[in-house]
Homo-oligomer: 142 residues x 2
Amino acid sequence: MEKYKKLLKENGLKITPKRFAIISYFLKNNKYFTPYEIWKFMKKKFKKIGLPTIYRNLEQFEKIGILTRVEGEENRFYYGICKKTNKKHHHHIICTSCHKISDFEICNFGQLKKQVEEITEFDIKEHHLFLKGICQNCKKGV
Amino acid sequence: MEKYKKLLKENGLKITPKRFAIISYFLKNNKYFTPYEIWKFMKKKFKKIGLPTIYRNLEQFEKIGILTRVEGEENRFYYGICKKTNKKHHHHIICTSCHKISDFEICNFGQLKKQVEEITEFDIKEHHLFLKGICQNCKKGV
DNA sequence: TTTTAAATGAAAATCATTTTCATTTATAAA
DNA sequence: TTTATAAATGAAAATGATTTTCATTTAAAA
Ligand SMILES: [Mn+2]
Ligand SMILES: [Mn+2]
Ligand SMILES: [Zn+2]
Ligand SMILES: [Zn+2]
C-alpha cells in the first residue's frame, strides 16, 4: 500500500481509511465493479458512507491511474484496478464470465498507425485497444 | 437508400419515413450524435415524434450494423453511421474536433493475439480498437 | 380491404450520477 | 501540540439520460 500512499500524496489527495479500503478491495479482487457495488461493500466497514463519496473517489482514482474505467454490461460504467500505475502505455482485458480485469503492455498499433492515417486522412491522437475474453480460472471452470 | 431498405427488411424492421430520415441524416453528416440531437433534428421534419422513438431506432440500427455507438464527451453515448454494413471486420475513428466518424478495415490485431493470450492467460473473444484524432477538414481549419 | 404485429407518442417511471451545503477530517503551519 | 486551511464527506435533493407503459397508429401481408 506504500505505493498508493505515495500516489495519493503526489496527486494532492488526502490519505484516508476509506480510500485505502476502496483500493484494497480492488487489489484483492482484480475484478471490475460499479460504484454501487463498491458502496455496498464499503457500508459493511463504515457505518456512515455516502454513494457520492464512492463516485468522487473512483473518478479521482481513475484520473491518477489507479483505476481504469470500462464499459461493461448494460451500458454501465465499471471500474477496475489498473496495475500499471507507471506511465507505461498499456491496455486492458476483461473476462466476460467473472469480470476479472488484467492489463498488458504489448501493443503493435504503432505499425498500423501510418497506414490508417493515410486511409482515413486523420491525424491519430489516441488509440484504445480493449479486449474481452475468458480468463484462466473461468476456462478451468472455477 | 435501397441498401438500407433492404437491410431493414432483412432484419424484420418496417420501412418508415422516420427511419429513412434518421439514416439520411447520419449519411449526410458523417458525424456522431446523441439521441437528443437526432430528436431535435427530427422534430423539424415531423411535428409528432417522441424521444423514445429515437432511442428505440438508434438501438435497433446499431444492432443491425447501420450505426455504431461510441463513447464521446461527458461519458455520453453517441451514435454514428457505420458505412461498412457488410460483415467485414473493421474499426472506427472519430474526430474530437468536429465529431466526424469514419471506419477502416485494416487491422493487425491478429499478429498480437497469441502473445497477449500467453501473457494474460485469457482466451480472447473480442477486440475493439477505437481511435481518436483530427480529421482532414479540421486539420485544414475548416 | 382486412388482419396482425410492429411502431409510435405521451406521460410517467427509473435510476445512475451529480450537486449543494453544512459538517468533519487530514495535513501542515505555527 | 494546537491551530488554521482546504479537502473530504454525508445527507438530501436535483439532474438528466434512458426506459417503460399503454393506448393509438401504421406498415406489410393476407
Ligand atoms: Mn496500444
Ligand atoms: Mn481489429
Ligand atoms: Zn473469468
Ligand atoms: Zn474533424
